[in-house]
């Protein structure tokens, strides 16, 4: 047995050292460690050995196994390094070098391009509100506490901060105090940034990414989209909010959809509104999607809080404003029966092309 082991080790180490391609090494690996590989089969004969021999052969077997495995790993690295070195000889050329058996497939068959579902939905919603005179306004993803929280009437140490699980930026080598810079938790930082410019009236919107400290599962993601509108002027009312709410819901969910307003607390609005949509999947009769109630929660909204006006330098006695926001990812999931939010960002082509 000892001799067999030594022989295997010797002959294969030789083969390994001579191998020039990854393919050859793969074959060697298989003939050693595959289902019927020589090393794989060896332990079957161990039962025939005496106890004394077993004590000797056991460690030796492991030694040989490790030597061969290590040899292959090192040889692979060596072969790869040679391949990497050979790259030096490859020149820049516009000639495609063909690998496949059927060269006709390359470049000639036109690919079908595709836009991400979220991009299509964004375009649809943006166009809807462009018609009403809204403009897109982009706000930063990496944001100061001031614009994400303080200016939006969410003071430091207020319990309402617990409504947002926040990812903070490591501020070492950045010019701010720890805890003062974060990944924005909502698109609402666009209103504090826009209102601060003091150019009224405002009709603005944003469809963009937000971030939360959230473990990822089928229904939750740390990175997700929000769509939000903000209107500021001298006579903006809750009746306007209701109109815009119905306008959007009917456009994206169908004529039957309308919104139902309920009181809801958000620190940056007063009055605050929780918005349900009539469940278009069961026509309000009650189904799984709406938990049998005929309505499902879809958005948060309200009249912009006077403290937000004050923080951004606008006079709350002169101006009023409304804001309305929702999570487009969730609506897309409902509309298309998509069961896992992770599909949006994982880049599976089959999923992307389906929608």
């Amino acid at each position: 047995m000892e001799d067999t082991l030594k022989k295997i080790q010797q002959s294969y180490l030789q083969k390994i050292s001579e191998a020039k391609t990854l393919k050859e090494l793969d074959e060697i690996f298989l003939s050693l460690f595959g289902k019927k590989g020589e090393v794989t089969l060896l332990p079957k004969d161990f039962s025939k050995l005496s106890e004394e021999e077993k004590r000797k052969i056991g460690p030796l077997f492991n030694q040989v196994k490790q030597a061969l495995e290590g040899g292959i790993v090192r040889a692979r690295v060596k072969v790869r390094e040679e391949i990497y070195k050979a790259l030096e000889d490859e020149k820049f050329t516009l000639q495609p070098l063909r690998l496949q058996a059927n060269p006709d497939l390359i470049g000639t068959k036109k690919r079908k391009g595709h836009l991400h579902l979220a991009t299509q939905f964004k375009k649809e919603i943006i166009d809807l509100f462009e018609k009403l005179g809204f403009s897109q306004f982009d706000a930063p993803h990496i944001e100061l506490d001031k614009y994400n929280f303080e200016d939006l009437n969410i003071p430091k140490d207020h319990p309402s901060r617990d409504m947002w699980d926040t990812l903070y930026i490591d501020t070492i080598n950045l010019k701010v105090e720890p805890g003062q810079m974060l990944l924005r938790t909502h698109t609402s930082n666009f209103w504090s940034r826009l209102m601060e410019k003091n150019k009224t009236p405002i009709r603005a919107m944003s469809f963009d990414r937000c971030f939360r400290y959230e473990a990822v599962d089928a229904r939750h993601s740390h990175t997700f989209n929000q769509f939000e509108i903000a209107v500021v002027g001298e006579n903006i009312t809750m009746a306007n909010l209701k109109y815009l709410s119905d306008y959007l819901l009917k456009a994206i969910l169908g004529k039957e959809a309308n919104s139902r307003f309920r009181p809801k607390y958000y620190p940056f609005v007063e009055p605050g509104v929780g918005i349900d949509s009539l469940c278009v999947f069961c026509h309000g009769k009650g189904c799984k999607i709406c938990s049998g109630t005929g309505w499902f929660e879809i958005a948060g909204a309200g009249m912009i809080h006077p403290n937000v006006f004050k923080a951004t330098g606008l006079d709350p006695k002169k101006y009023s404003g409304l804001a309305w926001g929702f999570g487009p990812d969730r609506i897309l999931m409902l509309k298309h029966g998509i069961e896992d939010i992770r599909y949006f960002l994982e880049g599976d082509l089959k999923f992307l092309e389906k929608y």
Binding site: E90, L94, L99, G233, M238, A239, R262, G347
Partner: protein, 569 residues
């Protein structure tokens, strides 16, 4: 807040069935999480601290259903300590910033027993386990009034003295849950003459808890600095029913009413009140808020008449001060003591609106006068470019804003290089620790995933943000949009095709030039040594395209060649 429906019936005479009641609450007052046979679970909101008590919920239900309340307003003239001369237990508040009121009542002659079935049911319906009769009183009173209590075994409180003070740095206490807690001067404690006996507003100490042998208790009721309680709670990771209520703020009127009721319950168990001490500032400062009909109608966009406004407010416990009169349509409104969330006119408007019914507000379009358009050239351009990429046959991907650990390993980022990446201070996992500075590595990762799923021709793009640590005269780090493309096309020179794709896209990118060259030193390990193209716009570098180095690809499990492009837009 879990509301026991049976208990609620003792406090308000409502006629609705539970389902209708739940619907009404969610449309007028507060979200309802769940309705079961025995209870109603309300959402926790950060404004309505008053709804963290059964009495508060009962008051709200009485207002929105026009039902009768079965308890009367607190009457200080009936409190036990008002009508008799009692000893004073030693109580001290070291700093009024920590606590505005501290009450200690000493009750003797008690015997620890299991609670009667009625109490046990009330607690269980409210989601709280029954402990014994003496402890249960504190929880029952907290549920009914929203005022937390703590009962100490008087025998174990040195000198029967309670001092409200800051903890000493490093001071230790074993809390009721048997855990040793280390405190700092940022935490409030109740202490006796020897040391801390309770983490203020959060949890009592183990040594002084009620035991089988307890006969005399010191019952404590306090208000605490809510911000400090919140911070301590966060730091210790200890959230209790009590800390929740302290965070929302408590009222002195309610505290005294609850204390009187608690003492009454101990008396019903055979206890005798022998000493009491109430220190601090007991004065409740009533708030008044101005309301005008004009502001209300202007904000809601409807017309609500004065009679309705006044009756709605009165139903909810507000007192409208008559002096201003109906003719002026402006009122001074006195806020009931339990509504700590009402501070400004808009708060009152919300109150009237919800009684009126949010849902009765009819939609009205915005006026036709359109504001000036903002500069939308960037979003417009991004959409145009996305369309162009699609028309050329590319599939749009949206990837995570972070570098995964696989990507970080494949790029062999040294600590030196990681310094350029924006780092998350509290990552959820190692997969969310660094923000991407380029998009192409994430696209290559996506190529790898799809190759493993059996695709062999992959042409994808993403337009999204990349994040840089540099500042350009701004208060926040630079983040900008980039276009990135990755191509794996069954040849071992995908850059040839990508070059053509880039030439086609140049139609949309004015002033852009492609210049074949070599990767700069910094990125030689990432790209093929010869297959590299610099991309410039008006003579300035804006990015490049290249075949990704096989070493990087191999590390991401890719054996094929992949070319990428990335430019700032």
């Amino acid at each position: 807040m879990i509301v026991s429906l049976n208990w609620l019936k003792e406090l308000v005479e409502y006629k609705l069935n539970p389902q209708d009641l739940a619907n009404k609450l969610s449309l007028i007052s507060i979200g309802v999480k769940e309705l079961t046979e025995n209870c109603l679970e309300l959402d926790l909101t950060y404004n309505r601290g008053d709804l963290l008590s059964l009495r508060g919920v009962a008051r709200e239900i009485a207002a929105i259903t026009s039902s009768k309340l079965l308890f009367s307003a607190p009457d200080p003239s009936c409190y036990q300590w008002t009508n008799q001369t009692l000893h004073k237990t030693p109580v001290e508040i070291e700093d009024e910033k920590l606590s505005s009121v501290q009450c200690i009542a000493k009750i003797e002659g008690l015997i620890v027993e299991p609670s009667n079935p009625g109490w046990v049911k009330k607690l269980e319906d409210s989601g709280i386990r029954s402990v014994n009769n003496l402890v249960d009183v504190t929880n029952l009173m907290m549920l009914e009034f929203g005022q937390p209590f703590h009962a100490f075994d008087a025998k174990f409180i040195s000198d029967e003295t309670i001092i409200v003070r800051r903890a000493k740095n490093g001071e230790e206490i074993t809390t009721l849950d048997n855990k040793l807690r280390k405190l700092t001067s940022q935490d409030i404690v109740l202490a006796d003459t020897k040391g801390a006996v309770d983490v203020g507003g959060i949890m009592g100490g183990k040594d002084t808890e009620i035991k089988e042998s307890t006969h005399t208790i010191l019952l404590s009721a306090s208000t605490f600095n809510s911000v400090m309680v919140r911070k301590t709670s966060k730091k210790l990771g200890l959230y209790s029913e009590a800390s929740k209520r302290f965070q929302h703020g408590l009222t002195k009127t309610n505290l005294l009413a609850a204390l009187a009721a608690a003492i009454k319950m101990y008396e019903s168990l055979g206890g005798k009140l022998v000493a009491v001490n109430i220190v601090g500032d007991l004065e409740e400062k009533p708030k008044t808020v101005k309301l005008t009909q004009k502001k209300l109608n202007d904000l809601l966009g409807i017309s609500i008449d004065p009679e309705f406004i006044l009756s709605s407010l009165e139903k909810l416990g507000f007192k409208v001060l008559a002096s201003q009169g109906l003719t002026l349509r402006a009122w001074e409104v006195k806020v009931p003591y339990w509504r700590l969330d009402i501070n400004i006119e808009e708060d009152l408007i919300e109150e009237v609106a919800r009684i009126y019914g949010y849902d009765k507000i009819e939609g009205k379009p915005l006026d036709d006068k359109l504001p000036e358009k903002l500069d939308e050239s960037l979003p417009d351009f991004i959409y145009k470019l996305k369309k162009a990429c699609k028309d050329i046959g590319l599939i749009e991907v949206q990837s995570y804003p972070f570098y995964s650990t696989n990507v970080l390993t494949a790029l062999a980022f040294t600590d030196e290089y990681r310094k350029y990446l924006i780092k998350i201070a509290n990552p959820i996992s190692l997969e969310t620790e660094y923000l991407r500075i380029n998009i192409w590595p994430n696209l290559v990762e996506v190529v790898g995933k799809n190759l493993r799923r059996g695709h062999n021709d992959i042409a994808i793009f993403e337009i999204g943000k990349s994040y840089h640590k540099s500042y350009v005269g701004k208060e926040i780090p630079e983040e900008g949009y980039v276009l990135s493309i990755a191509l794996c096309n069954r040849t071992n020179n995908p850059l040839a095709e990508l070059y053509k794709i880039a030439e086609n896209l140049c139609v949309h990118l004015r002033g852009v030039e492609l210049k074949v060259g070599k990767p700069s030193k910094v990125v030689t390990d990432l790209f093929h040594p010869n297959r590299f193209v610099h991309i410039e716009k008006d003579g300035k570098p804006i990015g490049g395209m290249a075949e990704v180095h096989l070493r990087v690809l191999n590390k991401l499990g890719i054996e094929k060649r992949v070319a990428v492009l990335e430019i700032e837009i």
